[in-house]
Amino acid sequence: MVVDNLMQWFESWTLWEAGSPLLFLIVVVIAGVPIFLLMAVNALVAVYAELKISAFMQDRVGPMGQGPGLHAGKWGLLQTVADALKLLLKEDIIPTLADRKLFIIAPFIIFVTPFIALAALPFNQDLLIADLNIGVFYILAVGSIGVIGIIMAGWSSNNKWSLYGAMRSAAQIISYEIPVALSIVSVIMLTGTLSMQGIISYQNGTTLGILPNWILFNNPFSFIAFFIFFISGVAEVNRTPFDIPEAESELVAGFHTEYSGMRWAFFFLSEYANMLIISGVAAVAFLGGWHSPIPGFMESSGWSLFWFISKVGVLIFIMMWFRWTFPRLRVDQLMNICWKVLLPLALLNIFGVGIWTLLIG
């Protein structure tokens, strides 16, 4: 939407002819800026939230400050800003025996994945960089590119620990994409469209009288599909209990052990951006996207933005809650859960949704 709007706006007051590819290129580059800003702000807020949430769950206070000054700001609000400054100013260390080219490219590939996926995430009726008619499919497909970056990072570090982390991560992400995709298939069976705005507009109105017509409440199988999607999504993002690639107590820091400074910041940014994307897709596909939970009430475009952000925020909070509660699974147990539990469940789910819709819905 934003891209279309920008194109039209440019064409209206300049002499570019309609549909010029050069204009398209320029508009796309301009449209990339808010995505980057979004990723940066998301990291800022999410890191601060993680620090404070983990602190309160662990019976401590986290970063605190007493007010204006050179330290962490009142209640530690400037903590992430300080972190970002520190990372920018850190020395760039590349191990001598590391494969330089791959070492340098890897963070960029990992960064690119959430960056381009965010283009298709609708925050509002209008705030959407590109309204693709294959929206959900695009996001899931693009999510696989990150694996290449992870393997590159692990291999090029010339460090056995990084290699372990990279191999584990690759296996994990590739395996868990299947339950993710299959649970989205149940949603698509109901909505009949892959477009993100289309899925959201399907969830308009109410069901069973008072409940909003979210796919979550549509039928019991899609209820289960939400949980399959969310759990597999947590595994996709490499968060505890599935954070074996980064397992801090075992592998020091897994595939990003040898990275420091701004390069490491890229990994960090992309992890939180991935969390945002998985939560965003879950909110769109199952929780009604930017629709209000009280149908017909508070539905203007400002409120829609608020509803979307709060749904995403709740899901991210739940991901953080998981991290600080559960121990982590061992690699083979993780794979077990994917292939022997979630995958059959997702397949059965598809049948269930289909039969339910056929007979009842």
Partner: protein
């Protein structure tokens, strides 16, 4: 190490590593994720304790024993002091005995809290670690109230103690025990009965009882394998015969007898038993008497040698002391329980995955200060 075969990888865990409980190096030969051989390398924390003892008087050795197993210093002091007193045939007053038992059991609780917290952290659960440390702080506050130190106390002297119990200690201890008892259940529900934790630790790292006895594994590790052996009951020292407590023994509740979960469970139960012992001791505590009345002016044990062992939170801590009548010992040897537990690591952990090796190492509860001395 020999010849490394084609597909195997040599992986070095440590000496600097987030979960080796100190400076320990494990050279691990792996085939993919499965470990085929583990060789521990120790000695990074060797501070020549036994050589120092040959130049120190008997009472000067006590602060050095603190620093061996720095997590449970009271129990180290206890073991040394009880050994020298038996060599010199000193019988301390009942008040001193009661206070010693209270301190040793409180330190047992503190040590187990640390062991369980770090074990949880190794397995990936970050929150129980902080909860257990918060509770451990209360115990360290009690110790600080008594002798001024939080970790290394130099509290138990030969023939007595360094400080008497301060005013208010008994009330604060009762307060702490009442506060802490429900916390054990909270931690259990959070970590021990968590399905993921059970998957990670049940059936993992099984230590059969015969292997345990042959490798000299003692303490909660041995009790986790089903062997009912506790020096406080079976080779009584001090006044432990006056207290009524059980010895928890692993029963394979969630998996096989002797797996990591059993060792975790035994430690949790031992904390409960220690709470019971401290309560009984506080009730029976004599209030009259000077804690330093029987401390001899000059400590010159008669010629001879003695080997005595006491129950530290890690197992049996043995002291072999040889004296020839002078104020300086001829030989002090500290038989460390974590030393033997670590020697059994290669027998338990071979054939498992790397994540399991970390979990098994955490369940054995080793402290490198004691291993290396």
């Amino acid at each position: 190490m020999g010849i490394v075969h084609g597909d195997e990888m040599v992986l070095n865990i440590g000496p600097q590593h987030p979960s080796t409980h100190g400076v320990l190096r494990l050279k691990v030969l792996t085939d993919g994720e499965i470990v085929s051989k583990i060789t521990p390398y120790i000695g990074y924390l060797h501070r020549c304790f036994e050589k120092h003892c040959e130049n120190l008087t008997y009472e000067q050795v006590i602060p050095f024993t603190d620093r061996c197993d720095y997590i449970s210093s009271m129990n180290n002091n206890f073991g040394y002091v009880v050994t020298v007193e038996e060599l010199m045939d000193i019988h301390v007053s009942k008040k001193v005995e009661y206070i010693r038992v209270i301190m040793a059991e409180l330190n047992r609780i503190a040590s187990h809290l640390l062991a369980l917290g770090t074990f949880g952290m190794d397995v990936g659960a970050f929150t129980p670690f902080l909860y257990m440390f918060r509770d451990r702080e209360s115990i360290l506050d009690l110790f600080e109230m008594t002798c001024g130190a939080r970790l290394l106390y130099n509290y138990m002297w030969i023939g007595g103690l360094s400080h008497d119990l301060p005013v208010g200690f008994v009330e604060k201890t009762y307060e702490f025990l009442d506060y802490f008892e429900p916390k054990i259940k909270e931690n259990d529900d959070l970590l021990m009965y968590n399905k993921i934790f059970i998957e990670r630790t049940a059936d993992v790292g099984v230590l059969p009882p015969e292997v345990a006895v042959s490798y000299g594994v003692t303490g909660p590790n041995l009790r986790g394998s089903g062997v009912q052996w506790d020096l406080r009951k079976d080779e009584q020292y001090s006044i432990y015969d006056r207290f009524d407590f059980e010895i928890p023994v692993g029963t394979g509740q969630m998996g096989t007898v002797g797996d990591c979960w059993d060792r975790y469970w035994v430690r949790t139960q031992e904390m409960k038993e220690s709470i019971g012992i401290v309560r009984q001791a506080l009730k029976q505590l004599p209030t009259e008497g000077d804690v330093q009345e029987l401390v001899p002016k000059k400590i010159r044990p008669p010629k001879g040698s003695i080997y005595k062992r006491t129950e530290s939170p890690r197992g049996d801590l043995g002291f072999y002391i040889i004296s020839d009548g002078k104020p300086i010992p001829v030989r002090v040897k500290l038989r460390s329980p974590a030393f033997t537990a670590l020697s059994a690591l290669s027998a338990i952990a071979e054939g498992w995955m790397i994540s399991d090796v970390i979990a098994i190492l955490g369940s054995l509860d080793i402290v490198l200060g004691e291993i290396d001395r």
